[in-house]
Symmetry: C2
Subunit: 394 residues, 2 copies
């Protein structure tokens, strides 16, 4: 049963009721969901989780809806990278593999919880701009929930994502422009038709789904915290979610005050958070000419930038960017040495880890978790088929 109490502006602390359709705070910042942590602490010990359903809804007390929309999301495996971990002298090198979600990416978590909560609030039509994978995920959950879905993506979005939107019966279109252009049209259409605009961090519940990655990592490690968590930060919602999840676990008494160092990884061709981190700024500046093969990292000015930077500061974390070339090499290395075919965003973790281990920011014997946000099956174009032999008919 949910213990949701209210929504709170992430910058000003302004409180808003959670039982109405809310988007940004009065001051224009993202809203965060708050719960009755004291009640959970006194009534629900963590051992209560044993034997619960093996999807993200097992964390019912810390989720905003009692009416799950579910396609089997969450409770993804924490896989060991033994060869690479040994080479780097780590105690454990683990991958939280989000490719196991419905629609093949971590976007399913935000969609499941976001759509469930929107339906609770009486929403019948959701609209969203997307670079790709979020659109596929929300299309699936809207279909399951019987909610209408309008989605607009840039004309250069991956074909697989438009195929997802179409197969789930969404009202889908391309725009001749960037995701920011798609966002402008969605904003106007939503205002006109009374649709629920579910753009990143413009509604407060997507992050509640994403935070379950943090809850799961801790439970899967036996309520111990890893030393470091690497996260590929485009919009950065998952990283904010993991940080929020850890604070909530402490508030309800399930963990102590230790924290893993959080690392935000970006691409050299679009690194507004890394630049802001290096400048010790509290906010990022728009990145001109964003360009990387990791389309999920092509976010020139994340709306959640202040929260990401705060999470890095408060956990003694850092931010680092890597080249597209190193991302391509990491896709091959993870597949050939460990048997994992990951998305380019997930692959970016490996060169970032190597760089920080080389600089001894990561110490020998540490336990490190990499967040792979999706399956490589959605990116077959990353693999060259040049030189495949065709044998004659025997």
């Amino acid at each position: 049963m949910t213990f949701l109490t209210h929504l709170e502006c992430s910058e000003t602390g302004e409180q808003l009721p959670a039982d109405q359709d809310q988007h940004l705070s009065g001051a224009g910042f993202p809203l965060l969901a708050r719960y009755d942590y004291a009640a959970i602490r006194s009534r629900v010990p963590r051992r209560d989780l044993t034997g619960r359903r093996t999807d993200l809804w097992r964390f019912a007390e810390l989720l905003p809806s009692d009416n799950p929309v579910t396609l089997g999301e969450g409770w993804t495996p924490l896989l060991r990278l033994d060869r690479i971990g040994a080479e780097l002298g780590l105690r454990d090198l683990l991958v939280k593999d989000e490719g196991f979600n419905p629609t093949g990416t971590f976007k399913a978590r935000g969609a499941a919880v976001g759509v469930a909560r929107a339906r609770d609030l009486g929403v019948t039509n959701i609209a969203m701009p997307t670079a790709g994978n979020a659109g596929g995920a929300w299309a699936a959950y809207c279909a399951n929930a019987g909610v209408g879905f309008r989605v607009i993506m840039p004309a250069d979005a991956p074909v697989i994502n438009m195929a997802e939107a179409r197969v789930y019966g969404s009202d889908a279109a391309y725009v001749d422009g960037l995701i920011s252009d798609a966002g402008r049209i969605i904003g106007a259409e939503s205002a006109k038709h009374g649709w629920y605009d579910a753009s990143t961090l413009k509604e407060p519940y997507r992050i509640e789904g994403k935070k379950t990655m943090g809850l799961e990592i801790v439970e899967q490690l036996g309520w111990e915290l890893p030393d470091v968590i690497f996260y590929p930060a485009g919009g950065g919602v998952g990283l904010i979610g993991i940080w929020k999840a850890l604070d909530e676990l402490e508030e309800i008494g399930w963990i102590g005050s230790d924290r893993p160092r959080l690392v935000a990884v970006q691409a050299d061709g679009c690194a507004p958070l890394v630049r802001a981190w290096n400048e010790r700024a509290e906010e990022s500046r728009f990145w001109d000419g964003a360009d990387t093969i990791a389309s999920g990292l092509r976010v020139p000015k994340p709306l959640g930038d202040r929260l990401v930077l705060r999470a890095l500061r408060e956990t003694d974390g850092t931010a680092i960017s890597v080249s597209d070339r190193s991302i391509r090499e990491a896709v091959s290395e993870l597949a050939q040495r460990e048997g994992l075919f990951v998305c380019p965003e997930g692959a970016s973790m490996l060169p970032a880890l190597r760089a920080l281990r080389d600089g001894d920011w990561i110490k020998e014997g540490e336990q490190v978790v990499l967040l792979n946000t999706g399956t490589g099956l959605k990116y077959p174009e990353l693999v060259s088929l040049d030189g495949v032999e065709t044998l004659p008919h025997p």
Copy 2:
């Protein structure tokens, strides 16, 4: 800990030792792994499973290896199809969704257990012909286990499967011919180089991985049996595996003698098992000119045909074929009404269910499980992008 004792010919009962590399029996039939069921029965109550790892290796006693090769396979969700189930007057309509496996299909189960057992036996090189998905799965597990992998697929195999084989570093080639031609070359190459030929049912452990689908369905239903299980039968190994799993669960005392009726579903364009079933034959005949969009069902003469037909007879099941057109329609319907994007083989279950419900072979109020063998993300070509609008730059 494994309780594996020996291998047994599925037709003659001939026993062979399990601690050596074995393929077909002396009489040329598939071998089945046998365990010390009495020992499991006396030592392991089913409640011991509570709290075990949430992958297929939780069923350790009934698996042939104590050294898992794991990428997070198994323990896939059993999802509800509430809209379609209500329309058909069923108590529960459930989908066991195998798209949640590594490499996106149920083939991961056979590969995980098959590669683990081969490694136990000292195998360093595995070879296999494949229509597609099995090759992708075995490539991943061989990479993880550090075992060499040679794979040959017909030149019309899906591009995504060759991409998988390549990214995992396999020695992969096309052949100008059918999967049977690929099999002939693999047989010759394996004999010449001493490779382990892992063709379907030519080694006895792939089915041990597949049978965990049956173990999971029963455990996920609280050790109750559904009324009917639908299975898309190409080679039919999964169906044989489910049937074997249920017999083993009875032998160890975890369930009684009731059985779900098993239904083998094929495509109209390649239905050797349906034809044999209708002719009350014990074996199938080669299907000339096999042709269907469901490439996993394009198996003209399954090596396990006698076992599939026996499983259907012993469970009062049946066999039925459906049209490619109905498969395409079912892909759309499952996506739009339930939020599931399934592979064509999985989609074939829905028209088969409708036909058997119309004929009252399935009764009102029954509980039915459909087996979806893989994710639709590997089949984007099933979705038309015709007529997608491109909006002008705002």
